[in-house]
């Protein structure tokens, strides 16, 4: 009907968002890709002859390679811990607690996710530091005589990462759990399935897309995290993001760009593999 004909052209709406994403995201990432094939000479001048030197350097320098592995490892531990906390949390809030308390309780747990990462990371200093509350508690309980060193270790980094990212892990998992059809669970129970069987055979497969989405929005940012290892990790707890920042601060932009591209390609590969198994944009956006 004529209703369709009078519609404004699509580009009226799509134009500015596309331009913004192109100018501020696509072009900058592409430019980073270009920089990664350049180099700097001894006077820190850019040399724009294409070379694979930066990539060669990354994969032949143990520090870079080792830090990449360590970051992936720490991000993996973080993701596993977040998921192990998020599943029971989502279950209890979404299924066990009376429904009128649900919204309040879940918002209360997601709320810290909106608080500045800087402030939350910094607050971990007050907990984990030498005079922090954790050491105070341990000494008060008589478990240790002198403050134990947690701050500036990889343990502190993982604790910090779990603290920062748990709200993000929780959102998609909670959405999946809350949507579970009670009658399916009751049917399984009536047919004699044990709690463990119900979880493994019924609940887990149904909330798996939510768990996968939770893993992705936890693993990817923690893998590239810069601030948490910077403030809590000290020397032993550095992560890949710190290498990128250091390369930039020492004016070796091509190296920093190549380090970034390696991280991005790893992330894209990961997203590609996961998206072959499930519709990611649906589980991420929760629609």
């Amino acid at each position: 009907m004529s209703v369709q004909q009078t519609r404004l052209p699509l580009m009226v709406f799509l134009g500015l968002p596309l331009l913004t994403l192109a100018a501020l995201f696509v072009v900058p990432i592409a430019l980073t890709g270009v920089y990664s094939f350049w180099s700097v000479n001894n006077d820190y001048q850019l040399e724009t002859a294409a070379t694979l030197n930066q990539y060669r350097k990354i994969f032949s320098t143990p520090l870079y390679f080792w830090t990449l592995l360590q970051s992936a490892w720490l991000a993996l531990i973080t993701t596993v811990l977040c998921v192990l906390l998020a599943i029971p949390l989502a279950w209890v809030i979404g299924q066990v607690i009376p429904s009128r308390w649900r919204m309040l309780l879940i918002v209360g747990l997601i709320l810290p996710g909106w608080v500045s990462i800087l402030i939350r990371t910094y607050s971990m200093n007050l907990v984990l530091g030498e005079v922090g509350i954790l050491n105070g508690l341990l000494m008060w309980l008589g478990l240790v005589d002198t403050p134990i060193k947690i701050l500036f270790t990889t343990t502190a980094v993982v604790i910090g990462l779990v603290y920062i990212y748990l709200p993000y892990t929780l959102v998609p998992i909670y959405v999946a759990v809350e949507r579970l059809d009670r009658s399916v669970l009751e049917a399984a129970e009536n047919l004699g399935a044990s709690p463990l069987q119900r979880f493994r055979r019924i609940i887990l497969p149904l909330i798996l897309p939510g768990i996968a989405a939770g893993c992705i929005i936890t693993f990817i940012p923690s893998m590239g995290e810069f601030l948490v290892p910077n403030l809590l990790g000290g020397l032993s707890g550095i992560m890949y993001g710190n290498l990128i920042a250091t390369a930039f601060q020492s004016y070796n932009w091509p190296l920093g760009a190549a380090l970034s591209m390696v991280l991005l390609l790893l992330i894209l590969a990961l997203l590609f593999i996961v998206s072959r198994f499930l519709d990611l944009s649906r589980s991420l956006v929760g629609k």
Partner: protein, 262 residues
């Protein structure tokens, strides 16, 4: 395990997690009220002196002012652009719609450090100095996906037949948009503005690469002080940001929370 014991332990589990999540934040607030310069418990005397001293620190005040301006401007831009993107996604069926949504999601999951350095490289390459404008563009990009998806959810809930009715009565497209669509998604738009501002006021990594010598945001200012040593003043600034963030987020949640929850 009996049903009752199960429920009890489940509630205890949530309570413990709540305590763990809020303990560090509570520590920041408590220590900001400590009169002594030692930022640890126990607190001997409560006082607001660190908050009062903030107002004498011109550098921190300047950073606060920059952050507020940046938050307001970038949230406005991101909400406006996000609104356009949301209208395109919800109202139009076009080729590449799925790809566009994917592109829109990417800045949300890409590591902040990669976004930060790629924007820095681009700014330098086009002969553009870092500083307020660069920060504004960076923050707008970061907020855009969130603002767009909040408005998409809001638009998806709104009954399109109202728009068709207005069209049927002869209203022009722009008039439909202005008089019917926008008034009906006002909570979503306000929510997007508030969430955008919240992201901006707390943002760290991208700002870290885009600040210039003279222009600093509040989180960057806090970082530069924390790197040297923890001071009670930092707890006071952090408490201020915490209070503003929590207040704005709760308001935004109230505005945008789906009422159709079962």
């Amino acid at each position: 395990m009996s049903e009752k014991a199960y429920t009890k332990s489940a509630i205890a589990f949530v309570a413990v997690l709540y305590a763990l999540v809020y303990l560090p934040i509570a520590l920041v607030v408590l220590t900001s009220l400590n009169e002594s310069t030692i930022t640890t418990l126990p607190i001997e005397n409560y006082s607001l002196k660190w908050f009062v001293q903030l107002f004498d620190n011109t550098k921190t005040l300047a950073a606060l002012w920059t952050s507020i301006q940046l938050g307001v401007l970038s949230a406005t831009a991101a909400t406006a652009i996000g609104l356009l993107a949301a209208l395109a996604i919800v109202r139009y069926d076009f080729r590449g719609r799925q790809a566009f949504m994917g592109l829109l999601t990417l800045p949300m999951i890409a590591p902040g450090i990669v976004l930060g350095i790629s924007l820095l490289l681009t700014a330098r390459s086009v002969g553009f100095n870092t500083g307020f404008l660069a920060l504004f563009l960076g923050h707008t990009l970061l907020e855009l996906p969130y603002c767009a998806f909040i408005i998409i959810a809001s638009l998806a809930r709104f009954d399109q037949s109202f728009e068709d009715a207005a069209r049927g009565l002869g209203a022009s497209e722009l008039r439909v948009l202005w008089k019917v669509t926008l008034p009906n998604i006002t909570p979503g738009i306000l929510g997007a503005l508030l969430f955008g501002f919240t992201i901006s006021i707390g943002e760290f990594v991208v700002s870290f690469f885009l600040t210039s010598a003279g222009i600093t945001t509040l989180p960057i200012r806090i970082y530069s002080i924390v790197k040297v040593g923890i001071t009670p003043e930092i707890n006071a600034v952090s408490t201020l940001i915490l209070a503003v963030t929590i207040l704005l987020t709760l308001t935004a949640v109230r505005l945008t929370w789906t009422k159709t929850q079962p």
